[in-house]
């Protein structure tokens, strides 16, 4: 028998990798049900219009059509996050092109789509609001006339087209400016990035004999789907069961949306299973994007490089519905000071409604926008001070024990080491052949941070009769590898190979509660629950064994492979199977461990910071990092090529180093797309101009640098599972400013707007 290898820290292949490479993994559209109907949605052709009426007679008359539902058929039950402003189908008004106004279930997809086209809606077009500036004009058309009446979980000072307004401040920024030797300011703009998970979104809903609904979704949380469907249908959560298929990527875009309730409604109307699988174009038109941002930023420093003041005004374009705008805004505000000890900071933030696709959560959650502005400006400041940009960052960098804005302590913080590591790696890298004529090279380093502790989660561990285990959590693996990571934690504590543990698929009837796969929180939050639940099971195993050996538990130890032995007596041991059988049939009952908790870190310190209407009050556990990119700019065409990237992160403990590296590498290329290519574009009528992969550029392999070097620093967090912190989002966060700074280092051209298209690069070169 091979020696036992501790699963924690091992580069284990994904537990589900085999089914993925042979093609048997079942994603949403791979599932069928007996008698299943197919759904299609009718979408608004207008960005803003009043709905005068519907004529569904032609659609209903089409052979094979089983149900038609419009906004006139549904009770008005507004749902959403902090501000509940959205209905399953448009009611009374449409607010963006593509918005679902009606839905059809039919015996096949072609019939359903044809029927959706036959639905006639009488619209009265209204003036549109398509930009942040337009939304804030005094006489701007209002998207939500009834905004004041909407239910909200806290006051966000919503008014006009303003979804939410918040303020966050520390120190006295007004007094600080006069002490600054150097001040830089600028306006930064970022686009609507589309998640482009490779699997389009979808749902299958079915109804049992008692009318209870089951929704199978490709999603980031079955508990979130369950809540949203129950809210939209106006039924108790006990009447909705949510399950998850394999998920072909999420990135924040597969939280609950209107599609789950539409499928559920049609299933109830027909009594049949109904599949609503979006085409790529529909997915782009009716799901979510990253928030476009307009950020005005000002930073001031003393001659020696000590940054003493930063002031920001962040405005997010939230699109037609609030969704997670208040939260994304709060997080952008929390991140824009950056990982620097700046004593005087004031941040004003707002999110506005426009007649476009709703913006929502997307890997980074406001942080990429904030960091694009903040880290671009750090290089502008370094230039004006005549200080090396890395030295400027090192001079101001947070160290262990320093505070984030709001007062949270950075218990572990290897920012300085991360900055030094990427600089060293860049200097040690082999020299490249010189660039061709007309091309210029440059590199730059940025500092980044993200959190991993927030909201609630739980886990259970059940010992089976043969001494194997079932591990259950509500944490959905959307490709990041949490199934494997959670199993590794459990297996390590029980000293068994991962094959002896099954990690259950999420089902709202069975899985312990978890908020969502979001916020880089799975390893840190659900991982902690897994560790605690496993420790309960381990202790019960020891108690049984102690009774069997008639000794104290302190005299016992777990031995690799599923045995309990008496310390110092090699032959004296009992197998897990015997312990399990004792618990099931003789004494004590089944061995089960459960642990649940809500994030329990420090709260904001109201004596330190002014915090008004901030949509988060309980989050933390900071992962730090530094990212270095090397670019080559074609000064004739304006094309930017990223040659090499080094990215260092203090992850606490890499539970699965291969997964950590995969997260870092993948985030970097998604960040590269954000920096250079990706943007949803709306025309003057509010119509999305590029809702397809042919017209929306997702980075391919030849756009990605061949050299992406993850540098993993392990400095265990005292609260993390085996010391681990999150790493899911941080690697995307700094790439856009790193590339912008590297382009500036290469050419002198400063870009304050992404994506850095060739046109914008040439404009910046001309202006430099």
């Amino acid at each position: 028998m091979n020696a036992f290898v501790d699963p924690v820290g091992a580069r284990l292949p994904r537990l589900e990798a085999r089914e993925k490479v042979v093609g048997t993994a079942q994603y949403l559209d791979d599932h069928v049900r007996p008698g299943m109907l197919y759904a299609a949605v009718a979408q608004s052709p207008h960005a803003h219009a009043r709905i005068r009426g519907y004529d569904v007679s032609k659609a209903k008359a089409l052979p094979g059509v089983k149900a038609v539902v419009t906004g006139a058929d549904i009770p008005v039950r507004r749902v959403g996050g902090m501000l509940k402003d959205e209905t399953m189908l448009a009611v009374g008004k449409v607010r963006y092109v593509g918005e679902p106004v009606a839905a059809v279930a039919a015996r096949d997809l072609a019939t359903a789509r044809l029927a959706a086209q036959l639905i006639e809606v009488d619209y009265e077009p209204l003036p549109t609001v398509l930009s942040i500036e337009d939304a804030l004009k005094p006489d701007a058309p209002l998207l939500h006339e009834e905004l004041a009446s909407y239910v909200r979980t806290m006051d966000g000072n919503s008014h006009g087209n303003v979804v939410w307004e918040s303020t966050l401040a520390e120190g006295d920024v007004d007094a600080a400016w006069s002490r600054c030797d150097v001040i830089v300011e600028g306006t930064y703009r970022t686009p609507a990035q589309y998640h482009a998970y490779m699997e389009p979104n979808g749902a299958i809903a079915e109804v049992d004999g008692n009318g209870r609904i089951t929704v199978l979704a490709t999603c980031q949380s079955v508990h979130h789907i369950q809540t949203r469907v129950a809210d939209e249908l106006g039924i108790p959560m006990s009447q909705v069961r949510a399950q998850v298929s394999r998920v072909g990527g999420g990135f924040g875009g597969k939280h609950a949306s209107n599609i789950h309730s539409i499928a559920a409604w049609l299933a109830r109307a027909t009594g049949k299973p109904v599949k609503l699988a979006l085409s790529r174009t529909q997915d782009m038109e009716i799901q979510r994007s990253r928030h476009p941002a307009l950020i005005r930023l000002r930073t001031g420093a003393l001659r020696d490089g000590t940054v003493i003041a930063r002031e920001a005004t962040i405005t997010l374009d939230g699109g037609a519905y609030a969704d997670e705008s208040p939260n994304v805004l709060a997080f952008a505000m929390l991140m824009i000071r950056g990982p620097y000890n700046i004593p005087n900071v004031r941040i004003r933030g707002s999110a506005v409604y426009t007649n476009k696709l709703r913006a929502g959560s997307f890997r980074g959650f406001g942080n990429p926008q904030a960091t694009f502005a903040g880290e671009s400006q750090m290089d502008e400041l370094a230039d004006k001070l005549g200080i090396d940009p890395v030295e400027l960052r090192l001079h101001n960098a947070m160290r262990p024990g320093d505070r984030w804005i709001g007062g949270h302590t950075a218990t572990t913080c290897q920012l300085v080491a991360c900055l030094e590591k990427v600089r060293e790696a860049r200097e040690a890298a082999p020299a490249l052949p010189p660039p061709k004529p007309g091309r210029k090279r440059g590199s730059a380093v940025v500092a980044v941070t993200h959190i991993s502790g927030l909201m609630g989660t739980s886990a259970s561990v059940h010992m089976r009769g043969d001494g194997t285990f079932a591990l259950n959590t509500g944490c959905v693996d959307i490709g990041q590898g949490s199934d494997t990571t959670m199993t590794q934690l459990c297996a390590s504590l029980l000293k068994v190979p991962v094959e002896r543990i099954v990690y259950g698929t999420q089902d709202s009837d069975l899985s312990p509660y978890n908020w969502k796969t979001a916020g880089s929180r799975s390893t840190y939050m659900t991982g902690r629950a897994v560790v605690a639940a496993t420790e309960i099971v381990r202790d019960k195993i020891l108690e049984h064994a102690a009774a069997m050996f008639e000794c104290a538990t302190a005299d016992l130890e777990l031995r690799p492979g599923g045995r309990v032995g008496v310390v110092g007596v090699p032959g004296k041991e009992v197998g897990f199977k015997d312990v399990a059988l004792r618990s099931l049939f003789r004494s004590g009952g089944p061995i089960v461990g459960f642990h649940g908790f809500v994030f329990d870190g420090e709260r904001f310190d109201p004596k330190r910071a002014l915090i008004e209407r901030l949509a988060f009050d309980n989050l933390g556990v900071y992962t730090f990092g530094a990212q270095c990119v090397e670019v080559e700019v074609d000064t004739l065409t304006g094309r930017v090529e990223v040659l090499r990237v080094w990215s260092a992160h203090d992850v606490g403990k890499a539970i699965n180093p291969a997964s950590v590296e995969g997260q870092i590498q993948g985030g970097i290329v998604q960040g590269l797309g954000y920096a250079l290519y990706e943007q949803l574009i709306w025309d003057d009528d509010g119509r999305l101009s590029n809702p397809s992969f042919a017209d929306y550029k997702v980075p391919g392999i030849l756009d990605a640098p061949a050299t992406i070097v993850p540098i993993v620093l392990e400095d265990p967090d005292p609260t993390g599972p085996f010391g681990a912190k999150g790493v899911g989002e941080i690697s995307l966060v700094g790439i856009a400013p790193a590339i912008a700074n590297a382009v500036c280092a290469a050419t002198g051209g400063r870009l304050r707007q992404i994506p850095m298209t060739p046109e914008r690069v040439l404009d910046a070169l001309e202006a430099s």
Binding site: V22, G23, G248, G479, G662, Q665, G666, G667, A694, I701
Partner: protein, 157 residues
């Protein structure tokens, strides 16, 4: 509705009878008639590569290939890549290299690399990158996929 055609397809060594509309793509037939859902629909316009299958050993887009035009050509899908439960060298290398994340692009990557390595037994990493230029992956940053291809090339076929 379009006229229905009846024809045969040679898929992974089996001859299968199919009746489909003339407009049905090979991807439609594989996924929705034959229940072979390994080939994925990511964009349905030939960009993402998740539907890549082989026709007589040549990678093609399942979503851009009319099923009724396939004729006598042998279709190989991801389901045909592992023999008797044994993973192919490409599949094994993707698994070992940690190149699997969400997995939705993986079938297209497997099929593309199988054909490429058959024709280019000892490729450079740069040649691998060009071979995969038609396969989008949103999770991995492509690094470990290239590493896997190099590992697979080093393994016995």
């Amino acid at each position: 509705m379009a006229d229905t055609l009846s024809y045969e397809l040679r898929i992974n060594g089996e001859v299968l009878s199919v009746a489909s509309p003339a407009t049905a793509t090979l991807l439609d037939v594989l996924r929705y008639q034959l229940g072979m859902t390994g080939s994925k629909r990511g964009c349905n316009q030939g960009v993402c590569g998740a539907c890549t299958v082989l026709l007589d050993g040549v990678p093609v887009r399942g979503c851009l290939t009319l099923a009724a035009n396939v004729g006598e050509r042998a279709v190989t899908t991801v389901e045909g890549m592992s023999q008797g439960g044994t993973l192919s060298r490409v599949q094994q290398a993707l698994l070992d290299a940690g190149a699997i994340q969400c997995g939705f692009c993986t079938p297209g990557v497997v099929v593309t690399l199988e054909a490429f390595l058959r024709d280019h037994p000892k490729p450079s990493a740069d040649e691998v990158r060009h071979a995969l230029s038609g396969n989008l992956c949103r999770c991995s940053g492509y690094v470990k996929i290239v590493e896997a291809a190099v590992i697979a090339a080093g393994a016995a076929p």
